[in-house]
């Protein structure tokens, strides 16, 4: 597990402006059960593409959205990358990776009659929205602080369908 975590920060190894953040800045990680730290062999094939997209979003020009949008911040990029590492299980479709005006990001799935969105507000706060178009699973709309268990459960519904 440690090797995977270290690799996540490899991009920043030579950076003089972004050192590996303290543990307190990586709140989600401790909240996710260890099976969600996946080895390469068990990762979804879309993970490299998703990581490339995160880099692209970190290079967006100022005002990219015409509403004063900021590029994805290095800290948020690292957080998003770590989260993708945790959830990129084979069988899980690639999320739409959508930048937000404030330099953050959200992940979206609109398939299998499910709408699932995770909007990352900060390194310790995310907004979860889940809706099952078939009405089988009750909707979820919840602010998540540190504990991403409801998000993980929503992913399990998507994976199982």
């Amino acid at each position: 597990m440690n090797a995977v975590v270290q690799d996540l920060w490899g991009d920043f190894a030579d950076s003089t402006v972004f050192d590996r953040p303290p543990a307190s800045a990586r709140g989600y990680r401790s909240a996710v059960p260890s099976p969600y730290f996946l080895t390469t062999a068990r990762q979804a094939s879309w993970l490299p593409e998703a990581k490339r997209l995160l880099i692209e979003l970190s290079e967006l020009p100022p005002n990219w959205d015409s509403y004063g949008g900021k590029p994805l911040s290095p800290a948020m990029r690292a957080e998003a990358s770590a989260l993708l590492e945790q959830i990129a299980e084979p069988g899980l479709p690639m999320p739409a990776i959508v930048p937000t005006t404030d330099g953050s990001i959200q992940f979206e799935w609109h398939e299998r009659d499910i709408d699932l969105e995770l909007r990352i507000r900060s390194q310790s706060l995310a907004e979860l929205f889940f809706e099952d178009g078939r009405g089988v699973v009750p909707p979820i709309e919840e602010d998540l602080r540190y504990d991403l268990t409801p998000f993980r459960r929503a992913l399990e519904v998507l994976l199982a369908r």
Binding site: L57, D65, V98, Q106, H110, D115, R119, F129, E141
Partner: protein
């Protein structure tokens, strides 16, 4: 902190509120025959900028005026009545270079943003 805006009753529920959408906010929607939809990220701002279509029309300008200088962007329209149903205030906020500018003010939860995403109409769709 409360937002210092009040709903403007002179803006009718039938008013079209035009929102410019960058390409990054358009996502695939496999739940809708693979069509594309506007991401809820487009409706996240508690003080969301829009153009009032009636002001554009009164000025004799096309609804696409807000796309000037924004190649590849789209425009969607939300009815003022639709956003008011979700506890949003609709205000005029004319700017020196945009007399049609307005704001949709209020906290936008996930379900509110989804409602806007599924109730907006393409005025200029993605290319």
């Amino acid at each position: 902190m409360p937002l210092a805006y009040a709903d403007d009753a002179s803006i009718t529920d039938e008013e079209q509120l035009l929102r410019r959408v960058p390409p990054r906010w358009i996502v695939p929607d496999a739940n809708n025959a693979g069509r594309r939809r506007v991401s809820s990220a487009a409706f996240d701002d508690p003080e969301m900028s829009v153009d009032l279509a009636s002001v554009r029309e009164a000025l004799g300008e096309p609804l696409t005026t807000c796309l000037a200088g924004h190649e590849g962007f789209s425009i969607v329209s939300l009815l003022a009545g639709v956003v008011r149903e979700r506890n949003q205030a609709v205000c005029r906020d004319p700017l020196p270079d945009n007399p049609a500018h307005g704001l949709v003010v209020g906290r936008k939860t996930g379900s509110i943003k989804k409602h806007f995403s599924t109730h907006c109409i393409w005025i200029v769709g993605p290319g």
